[in-house]
Symmetry: C2
Subunit: 309 residues, 2 copies
Amino acid sequence: MSEGPIFERAAALFASLQEAICAGLEELDGVGRFTSDPWERQGGGGGLSRVLAGGRVFEKAGVNWSKVEGELPAEFAAQIPGGGTAFSATGVSLVLHPGSPMVPTVHANFRFLAKGERAWFGGGSDLTPYYLFREDAAHFHRTWQDACAGHPGVADHGKFKAWCDDYFMLPHRGERRGVGGIFFDYLDGAGVEGGLDAVLAFVAGAGRAFLPAYRPIAARRSGEPYGERERQWQLVRRGRYVEFNLVYDRGTVFGLKTGGRIESVLMSLPPLCRWDYDPGDPPRGSREAELVHVLRNPVDWLGSDAGVE
Amino acid sequence: MSEGPIFERAAALFASLQEAICAGLEELDGVGRFTSDPWERQGGGGGLSRVLAGGRVFEKAGVNWSKVEGELPAEFAAQIPGGGTAFSATGVSLVLHPGSPMVPTVHANFRFLAKGERAWFGGGSDLTPYYLFREDAAHFHRTWQDACAGHPGVADHGKFKAWCDDYFMLPHRGERRGVGGIFFDYLDGAGVEGGLDAVLAFVAGAGRAFLPAYRPIAARRSGEPYGERERQWQLVRRGRYVEFNLVYDRGTVFGLKTGGRIESVLMSLPPLCRWDYDPGDPPRGSREAELVHVLRNPVDWLGSDAGVE
């Protein structure tokens, strides 16, 4: 991993993460298989979209890899660090929508960008349950805390956790989209021993932490019983996922407005969802209300007040 | 209608339109009834949201009236004609989602805004079929042409038709969201005999044209047979409606980012929809392909090439 330009090494890392994650998710699902859809980008580069639909665990799971180079529209270029409009970017990005409302939706993304004199890594992962299992949220956060722990100077778990709570926010709903995780950006290695190589090592570790963070949760919840009420609640909550991605998510909006490959950009949207008029808050004391409470009041899942025994 | 401040007269007009349209839609539906949900806005004014869900024809139909006054956030105020940040606005806005994929979704909106030294009307209506019936599109457009015809100087049907095709565009899909209709904005009465009063008269006529434009179409298509294939196509196309409203629609984005009443702002979203990964173009020669063709190539529905006998 320490040979060659960092852009090439990052791209190779993300490709290997895509392969390992897809293999791990197929093993978990047991039935569904990922398709492979390679694509090229007008203007330079391309990617590989992999999708599993109609599985035992996953209703729709997408894991996308891309490596692109080219010119940004001037308006967008001005919003991004580094001079000029030429850029190169590579990353792996996934959103998994399980069929069962007892299994949380999850997102992860790890990416490298270079523009002008600047180059940096970004990424993160966040968990969106439909029903709250406190020990699952704690396990997810603990895995990310461990992934950060070995990289002092690069990774600050407390900061990345708070950044995640801030980023995955729907201001118009007064809710976060889930129970959080980590989010980080603009990690350019400045002031860090090893510079960008040290950041790459952290990102590689975080990428490898994805399966341990999510797979045990999906495995143990995929057998939980549920009925029509829980399914309908899941469809309503998936609508909030759509609202976040189409209105606020920087990557999605960027992809839509800069001519990204639409099917890959919108791979994150759920297979089925619904919007009712003013469904109101769930009944007090219900499991649905318990979820909404933590979406409105972020929890320190590794603290003593997380309600995890 | 010619007494009192124009803001009050516009608000009264829009309230009466809401009442008449809801009554006409209940008559058409035959089963569903509109609920009435009055709301107040922090900072001044309020509105009345009316929703019919689970009817015979309509799966979800929302007709919203509002009359609000207050201060705009500076960032948004700068994007809107007229000085300062104080504004007043009133309007009626509707989106109807039928259960049958043979009955088109429809939107209409008529509004009045005043800010600083400026005051103007805007609005329009557009039709979003899932299956194309050319005579329906022609009827819809002809009704709007007639509504414009009596108001030379105020209403230019050719311009408003083209504006509609431009506005209801999803650039990332290379498609319009439907077969169009009319769209107009910033009608301030400048250079028009009668000024804003003449514009109000046109808007009143356009509002009264909504039921004649849409009701006959819904009535004659609500008995058309369809099956699971047509229903699934409708759910996919409804996803495009969500994409337009959350990414591009000025009113929706404005409402989300300025603290509008969320349930009213998002009343326009469909009850149920889906996103599949890369479903591709419908088979050549299919009815679905016929629709997509006209979404990509706007038609002059009142011209000789519209394919209407």
